[in-house]
Each structure stands twice: as structure tokens, then as C-alpha cells.
């Protein structure tokens, strides 16, 4: 725990954490040690330092969603997933940075500033980096983490914690996982409780899990999944936690390659990695088939309509009266609301609220909202058809390219970026399917590239088993950070966090 805290301090320039709960974390670590000495640990997660994205409610710790609206807000309760982790002895190090209210694909639009990708400071990146002009200052070439759970991804990637919670609505866990070279799991919708996760899109949000290896993700999943009476959208079925078998024989596996995911903006590098991965499976004896998900290219517009509509609804509760920021304007209730919301929300949030309200107007409802719901059904059915025809897992890229330098990223606005970046991850949210990013290789620039596996509903075990096999095959390199080396050379060895030392 102490090592992690020290690492957090020395990697502060990454801006991955909004709040570090040093005192309570140390106390929790102490309690955990006592339990181990007694020979009574609470389970695999006892004593494991974790971080939580700042849109999950944590009792007694500030929860801001990286927004002025909630700056200084101390939650009175723990989100169900946070409570589950704490109940199993996990040590909560702090709350990680994100795009404001989880809206964005870069983790650059929060009020606490952007998150820097730890790989920007890795030896691998620095070696390959070619400055474009001599006048460019040293520190401006860092790359983004991706978003919106960038803080969580960076935290895990930089070894400041062993696992982190993110959220995934359109790819917000898988996207930064790919850019930061960590495993990012989006579980099936309805498997893990959303109670206490400040909602973005209720019908698509899920808590996401970020870890350094697939086995860890399975462990965390095991402790989080299951019905929660406080969340009526969780399924009633009893969940059985599982350990992942080590797959040796993939000949019975059928891998689908959706041709529509070969989108125009896809970088040639990623395309090459994707092909290589497909070949890997083929050569190992698996059946690799090209499949079609014909409605894929509608998913982004569909997502925009449904997402903004739900956002407009979910953000309506922020009026300054009960909690959070409240404007000094007090001429009338309406003016106070308007001023509070203008002051509390950034452009991105306000933009989405306005769009969403437009789509929900009586005269527009049928044309936009209902239409989008119908398209959503079509998208989901694409997957049903493909999985029904014998395909076990789909293999796709996660992102269009490796991480972009911050200076380049901000040249386009949030909405444009989201439209571009979500395209490969978004459909899984529409259909509620589980998906995982597995770090695969380094790009020419020395930055991580990840590939995405999409599985059948509630078949996380199968999904992660295949992901684990793949992970073993590709042997993704460990990040080489100066800061980490300074603190502890043993950390650099790829440890299974289940073995607590």
C-alpha cells in the first residue's frame, strides 16, 4: 500500500488521481495485514490496492465526476461495487480522473485537467519518439490516455494500483485500456450493479474493470457480479465466480471477424495487428470466419440520439438545491437553476443536454428517440444472428490508432472526437454484450495497441478464457517507467496480484 501511495506521489504529473485517500487507505491496509497475520484474509482481494473512477459514490470521500457541479461533494454512501470491494478487504487508494461526467474519449475534458498516458514517459516511447521540430518543448509531446476512464487506466498502467474501476457507456473502459496497454473489461449489461454509479446513459452504462492481466480481471469480476436489489436492471440469476482455465486447445473455437469494423479511419498499423491476431488463431487450429454486422455504421448516430436523450434526463437532477454547486444568483428559482447549471457544467455536458432535450420534445420523439430505439434493436439483432450461427467470439480492433499526442487531440472538439473514437466499441454497449480489450503489441511509436474480443451475453467466462489464451500468446511488453524503476524493481516483474507480498 505504501509503495503504491509513494508511486502515486511520484507520478502526479500524470494527473490520474483527483483525490488520494491516503489516511483511510493506510488504515485499511493495516486492517488487512492484521487479518493475514491471523490467517483470516477475506479473500483474494484482501489488501489489494485499488482505485475507483470519480463517478462512483464513495462514502466520506469526495466524488466530483470531474465537474464543477460536484466539486466538494462528499457522498453519504458507497456505490454497491465499491462496497463489495471494501467488504472483501480491498484498499481504496483514491478516485481517478475522467472526462467531465464521463463524456468524452480522451479524459481531457474534466475540470481537473487532462490525464497523461504513462506510456508518454516510458522508455519505449521515448526511444521511438522523433520530435517534429527543434522548437517543441520537452514536455508537450505526451499522449492522451483515451477516455473517459483515463485516470483509472493510467493508474493501473503506472503500477500505482493493482486494479481500478472505470465505467463503460460507449467504450469508456476499453478505449483507455487500449491506449494505456492494460486489460479493460466491459461486462454484460445487467451483470454488475450500477447502484451508486452516477448515471450517464442508464440503458448502456456498466461498471468497467481495468487490470494488468486477464486473470486479475476475472478475480475482480467474481467479486462484483450478481443481483443487487437496489438496481432493478441487474439479473436475478445467481452468479458463480470462476477461475479461468488455461486453454491449450482452440480448435473448437470459432472466431468471427466483422468486416464492417474495417472502418475508413483505421490505421494501417492496427489493421496489420488485427490480421496477425486472426492468423494467430487460425494457425492454432481455430476456425476464423469473416462475418457481417450490417447495421454497424448506424450505431454512432443511434448512440448520439439515445445517449444525449438519457443524459438530458439524468442531468436534470443537478439544480444546486440539494447538493453540489449552487450559484449565488437568487432572483428566482429558475434563474438560480440556469446559472447553477451554466456554471457547473462544461460545454460538452451542456451540449449533450440541449441535444437530448431536443430529441425528447413531443414533436421530435417519434422521429428521433423511437427511431433510434428501433435501430438499436437492429444492431443488437446483428449480434444475435452472428452468435446464433456458431461464432463464439468476435475479434475486432479497439481503437482506430495508437494514442494521439494531446496537442493534436485537442484540435478537434469533443463531439467530433467521440464520434470517431467510439466507433469500434460503441456497438457492444448498444447490444449489452461483454467485451474486453487485451493489450497486443507496441506501435511504431512505442505505444500500446489493443484488440477487442466481444462475447455472448453473460458468457464472460468463455470470453475471458479466450482473452487469457491470447494474452499468453502475444506476451505484451511491460511498460518501462523511470519512476517505477526507482521505487521498486520487483514491481516490474509481471506479478499476479493474487499473491500478496
Amino acid at each position: 500500500c505504501q509503495r503504491c501511495l509513494a508511486l502515486i506521489r511520484s507520478t502526479q504529473f500524470l494527473n490520474a488521481y483527483i483525490t488520494v485517500a491516503e489516511d483511510s487507505a493506510l488504515k485499511q491496509a493495516e486492517e488487512s495485514e492484521k487479518r493475514y497475520r491471523r490467517g483470516q484474509p477475506l479473500g483474494e482481494l484482501d489488501g489489494i490496492p485499488i482505485a475507483v473512477k470519480d463517478n462512483f459514490n464513495t462514502a466520506g470521500i469526495e466524488t466530483t465526476c470531474a465537474s464543477n457541479m460536484l466539486k466538494g461533494y462528499i457522498s453519504p454512501y458507497n456505490a454497491t461495487v465499491v462496497q463489495k470491494l471494501l467488504d472483501r478487504g480491498a484498499v481504496l487508494l483514491g478516485k481517478t480522473n475522467l472526462d467531465e461526467f464521463a463524456m468524452g474519449s480522451g479524459s481531457t475534458d474534466g475540470v481537473f485537467g487532462p490525464v497523461r498516458n504513462p506510456w508518454s514517459y516510458s522508455r519505449q516511447y521515448k526511444e521511438k519518439f522523433v520530435p517534429r521540430s527543434d522548437s517543441e518543448p520537452e514536455n508537450s509531446n505526451w499522449v492522451i490516455t483515451g477516455g473517459s476512464s483515463g485516470g483509472s487506466a493510467a493508474a493501473v498502467s503506472a503500477f500505482t494500483c493493482f486494479a481500478a474501476l472505470g465505467s463503460d457507456t460507449g467504450g469508456s473502459t476499453r478505449n483507455p485500456a487500449a491506449h494505456c496497454g492494460v486489460v479493460g473489461l466491459k461486462p454484460t449489461y445487467g451483470l454488475i450493479s450500477r447502484h451508486g454509479l452516477i448515471p450517464l446513459v442508464n440503458s448502456m452504462d456498466v461498471p468497467g474493470i481495468l487490470t494488468r492481466c486477464v486473470d486479475d480481471a476475472a478475480v475482480v469480476l467474481g467479486s462484483l457480479a450478481g443481483h443487487d436489489p437496489k438496481d432493478s436492471t441487474t439479473v436475478q440469476d445467481i452468479f458463480q465466480p470462476f477461475a479461468l482455465p488455461s486453454l491449450t486447445d482452440v480448435s473448437k473455437l470459432s472466431i468471427g471477424i466483422p468486416k464492417e469494423y474495417h472502418v475508413p479511419g483505421l490505421s494501417s498499423e492496427i489493421l496489420a495487428v488485427w490480421s496477425k491476431a486472426a492468423d494467430l488463431f487460425k494457425n492454432a487450429g481455430a476456425k476464423v470466419v469473416e462475418v457481417s454486422l450490417p447495421h454497424t455504421h448506424y450505431s454512432i448516430v443511434c448512440y448520439h440520439v439515445l445517449c444525449t436523450a438519457e443524459v438530458a434526463s439524468n442531468m436534470a437532477r443537478f439544480d444546486g438545491l440539494e447538493y453540489g454547486h449552487r450559484s449565488d444568483m437568487n432572483k428566482s428559482t429558475e434563474s438560480m437553476y440556469a446559472a447553477t447549471r451554466r456554471e457547473g457544467f462544461n460545454d460538452v455536458v451542456r451540449g449533450r443536454i440541449l441535444s437530448g432535450n431536443y430529441f425528447l420534445l413531443k414533436q421530435n420523439y417519434e422521429d428521433y428517440f423511437v427511431k433510434a430505439q428501433k435501430v438499436r434493436r437492429l444492431i443488437a439483432n446483428d449480434f444475435v444472428k452472428v452468435f446464433g450461427s456458431g461464432i463464439d467470439i468476435l475479434l475486432t480492433p479497439t481503437t482506430l490508432s495508437d494514442a494521439v499526442p494531446y496537442m493534436e487531440f485537442i484540435k478537434e472538439d469533443n463531439r467530433t472526437r467521440s464520434t470517431q473514437d467510439d466507433i469500434l466499441t460503441q456497438a457492444a454497449n448498444m447490444a449489452g454484450l461483454p467485451a474486453v480489450n487485451v493489450p497486443t503489441a507496441l506501435s511504431r511509436r512505442g505505444l500500446p495497441i489493443g484488440l477487442q474480443f466481444i462475447g455472448r451475453s453473460f458468457q464472460e467466462k468463455q470470453l475471458l478464457t479466450v482473452a487469457k489464451w491470447f494474452e499468453k500468446q502475444v506476451q505484451f511488453p511491460v511498460i518501462q517507467l523511470e519512476e517505477v524503476k526507482k521505487h521498486d524493481s520487483s514491481v516490474l516483474q509481471h506479478q499476479k496480484s493474487a499473491s500478496f507480498s
Partner: protein, 437 residues
């Protein structure tokens, strides 16, 4: 339950929606309600009215129930005009409510009041709600419009802030009157929301809710459709307590007020309007039944005492039957004395008044104290009768002359002389005997 009691079709699948608007008492910025598919639709409510205020002429009317929907309550706002601020109490925000929407089948305040009263009784019988308006357990908003016969319905106004059934009738009638006057003066009725001012007895426009709002309805994503089952559709291996079985509930519905009233009439031989009043007044039916249990007097006679003597006293003092200073036990006692012939009915009324003071004396004690027992001694009675006959020569002459009615005057005099302690029938007998001698 309420849906079944109101003869509604229960939607086995109903949906939840969000209704968006900004108001300080709505913390989420939206209210969860059932706009698309509510839980129950197309029911009816039957209620009774007295025609021309005569209890003996009761009419049964029906109002159609459009739907029943489940929704969330908002908080409460208290306006502090002195300090130009509004205080918000959020304690009840989010609590579940049931909204019953009626069709515009009623035509005046009296009908509205009777319909709501019947609904109140039904809710109380089912246990769905105590439905006490003064405590906000039942809230009523009235929608009123006027039109000439044969023409389409006029523009309606909504009237809120009605806190009792009595005020409901008043508000409706006032609003009807106001709208008619407005139209007759060449004006128009605005589609607005008005508040009922109970002190002034009129409706006034409400400042806050202006203009037509687009509520931007959206399906509630956090609540899956509500599925109810009946015996046919109940899945096999499901926990009995986890699902709602409509048929199971239907079998266990208690007797509704209309059924109860019919049973009272049959059981006790009382008139329908009697049973109506018994059920209409809070606690009166129980009181009546308690008395009947404890007395030999026939229910048909008891009812007179309950509805005339007891009820009028209760009303005068604004008390409910449960608060009656005369217990059912004492009243039964009193009626027994009357039934046994120990006292006359006028004496009984005197005792009643005394009991009403609630000083704890039993009827028997009062009778003894005031010496109200009927004179049982035949001789004593004869003596008194004789005395009266001797005094009243003129009347005796008249009776002997054929005018039988005058005997009542003599009976009255005997009564006066005995201070109500003489059995009038016996007195009449004695007098007649004496006069025919």
C-alpha cells in the same frame, strides 16, 4: 386491489416513464410515472346520491375510471412570502403513489363529492389507503368545464388545493358558476390551473404553473416493465412471494362498501338509506352493530336512535362515532330499559341528554336520580287519571259527546302530572275505561 375493486382491466404488463420538468420540489428533475401503459384501465365507480336531499330517494350513478397509474410523489413546498423564499420538504419525494383518473361523467359538486366519498370508503375497506384528505393521504384535483347541451365539452380548468370533500363540492360548484358567468359576459375560459381558497370559497389562478409544458416523456430505463400474473400465466417454478398473482388477490378482496350495505339491509332489516348513512359516517356502523349486539331492542328500532338522536348530537358537536360521549354499552343499556317498559320513550330521551354529558353515570342511575321510572302501580295511575278527569269537565264532556281525539289532551295532562312516568298506552286504557263508565 384498487384496480380490481373499481372493475378495471388490469394490464398484466405496464411500463414506467419519466416526466421531466423543473421545480424545486422535484429533486431529480423528473417524476417517474406511467404515461404509456398504466397498471389498470377502463373501470367504473358506482355511488349514491340523495335526490333533492331526501334520504328516501336515493339514486345510483356511475363514473367511469379512465385509468389508475403508479407514480412518484414530489416533495412539499411551503411558500414563505414574508421572506420571499420557498422552503422545500423532501421527505415524501419519491414515495410511491396511486393516481386514479376519472372521466368527466359528473355534473355538479354534489356528484363529485359523493363519488370521491365512495372512493374513499373503498380505499379504506381495501386498506389501500386511509384516504384522509385533511392529512394529504388522499389528494383531489378537479377538472371542470361547461358547455351547452348538445355542444362539445368546453375548455377545462384544473382546480387544486382542495382539502376536504365538503370543499370539493364547493370548489366545483363555484368554478361552474364562475365559468358560466364568464362565458355569458362574452369572455372565455382559459385552460389554466387554479387554486381553491377555502377561506373565500372561490378559485384563484395559480401563479406557478403557466403555459403548456412539454414534459419530454422518456421510458424509465432503470425500471423494467412491471409484469403481473394471473393463475393461467403464472410461471411454474417461481417463488410465491416474488410475484403478484391477480387472481389470488381477487379471491381475497374484502366486501366492498356496496356489498356491505346490502348485507346490512338484509341482516338487520333496515332501509337502504339507513345503511348508506351508517357506512358514510366514520365509525357509525361499528357503533350500531355494537349496540345491536348488546340490546334486546330490534335493530329496526335501534337504527332510529342511532341516526336521529346520536348522529344529530355528534354532528352538532363535530364528533365522530368513535368520540361519542355515550358508549355503545350505555346506549344499549338505555334501550333495554325502554324495551322492558321500565321507562317511557320521552323519559328515555331525557336520559339520553343526561348521558351525553358524559359524567359516567349509568342509565339506571340517571333514571333513579331523576325518578323517571314508569309508574308500575296500577292504582296510583288510576288515581292520577281520576284526578285529571275530575279537573277537566269540559274535555270529558267533549269525549262523551263523541270527540275521541280530545282524549289525547287528557293523556298529555296525565303525562305532565306524572312527569313522563306514565305509560301512555296504559293511561289511554285507564281513561277510556273510566270515561265509558
Amino acid at each position: 386491489m384498487t384496480g380490481l375493486a373499481l372493475n378495471c382491466t388490469i394490464n398484466k404488463k405496464s411500463l414506467f416513464d419519466r416526466k421531466h420538468y423543473f421545480y424545486a420540489d422535484l429533486p431529480a428533475g423528473y417524476q417517474i410515472t406511467q404515461q404509456r401503459v398504466p397498471i389498470a384501465v377502463n373501470g367504473s365507480l358506482s355511488y349514491s346520491l340523495c335526490k333533492d336531499n331526501k334520504m328516501s330517494q336515493m339514486v345510483t350513478k356511475t363514473v367511469r375510471i379512465k385509468q389508475i397509474q403508479l407514480e412518484q410523489d414530489s416533495g412539499k413546498s411551503l411558500h414563505d412570502d414574508a421572506r420571499s423564499q420557498t422552503l422545500i420538504d423532501l421527505n415524501r419525494a419519491g414515495v410511491g403513489l396511486m393516481e386514479v383518473v376519472m372521466e368527466p361523467d359528473m355534473c355538479c359538486g354534489e356528484e363529485a363529492a359523493a363519488a370521491v366519498r365512495e372512493l374513499q370508503l373503498i380505499l379504506q375497506t381495501l386498506g389501500s389507503s386511509q384516504a384522509i384528505m385533511a392529512e394529504g393521504q388522499l389528494r383531489v384535483d378537479a377538472n371542470i368545464s361547461v358547455h351547452h347541451p348538445g355542444e362539445p365539452y368546453g375548455v377545462r380548468t384544473e382546480v387544486k388545493n382542495i382539502n376536504s370533500i365538503r370543499f370539493l363540492a364547493k370548489a366545483v360548484d363555484y368554478e361552474i358558476h364562475r365559468q358560466i358567468k364568464e362565458l355569458e359576459n362574452g369572455g372565455t375560459v382559459l385552460n389554466e390551473t387554479r387554486a381553491f381558497d377555502s377561506k373565500l370559497g372561490c378559485t384563484v389562478p395559480m401563479r406557478d404553473k403557466e403555459g403548456k409544458q412539454d414534459y419530454r416523456f422518456m421510458p424509465e430505463p432503470n425500471l423494467p416493465p412491471l409484469i403481473l400474473y394471473d393463475a393461467k400465466s403464472l410461471p411454474a417454478n417461481v417463488n410465491h412471494q416474488q410475484v403478484v398473482n391477480i387472481d389470488w388477490i381477487h379471491e381475497r378482496l374484502p366486501d366492498l362498501p356496496s356489498v356491505k350495505r346490502a348485507k346490512l339491509v338484509e341482516l338487520y332489516g333496515i332501509l337502504p338509506e339507513h345503511s348508506f348513512t351508517l357506512m358514510n359516517e366514520d365509525g357509525l356502523m361499528d357503533f350500531f352493530e355494537d349496540v345491536v349486539k348488546q340490546t334486546q331492542m330490534k335493530p329496526k328500532k335501534v337504527i332510529g336512535w342511532i341516526l336521529n338522536d346520536l348522529l344529530s348530537h355528534l354532528k352538532q358537536h363535530s364528533l365522530t362515532a368513535k368520540e361519542s360521549p355515550i358508549s355503545s354499552f350505555f346506549l344499549a343499556d338505555l334501550l333495554n330499559l325502554l324495551e322492558n317498559g321500565d321507562i317511557s320513550s320521552s323519559a328515555a330521551k331525557q336520559v339520553f341528554e343526561e348521558l351525553w354529558k358524559g359524567e359516567g353515570k349509568t342509565p339506571l342511575e340517571i333514571v333513579k336520580e331523576k325518578q323517571l321510572e314508569l309508574i308500575q302501580d296500577q292504582e296510583e295511575l288510576e288515581q292520577i287519571c281520576q284526578a285529571v278527569i275530575d279537573e277537566r269537565e269540559k274535555e270529558v264532556m267533549a269525549i262523551k259527546g263523541g270527540n275521541q281525539k280530545v282524549i289525547n289532551k287528557l293523556i298529555g295532562l296525565v303525562r305532565k302530572a306524572t312527569r313522563g312516568r306514565a305509560n301512555p298506552l296504559l293511561v289511554k286504557q285507564i281513561l277510556e275505561k273510566k270515561l265509558s263508565e
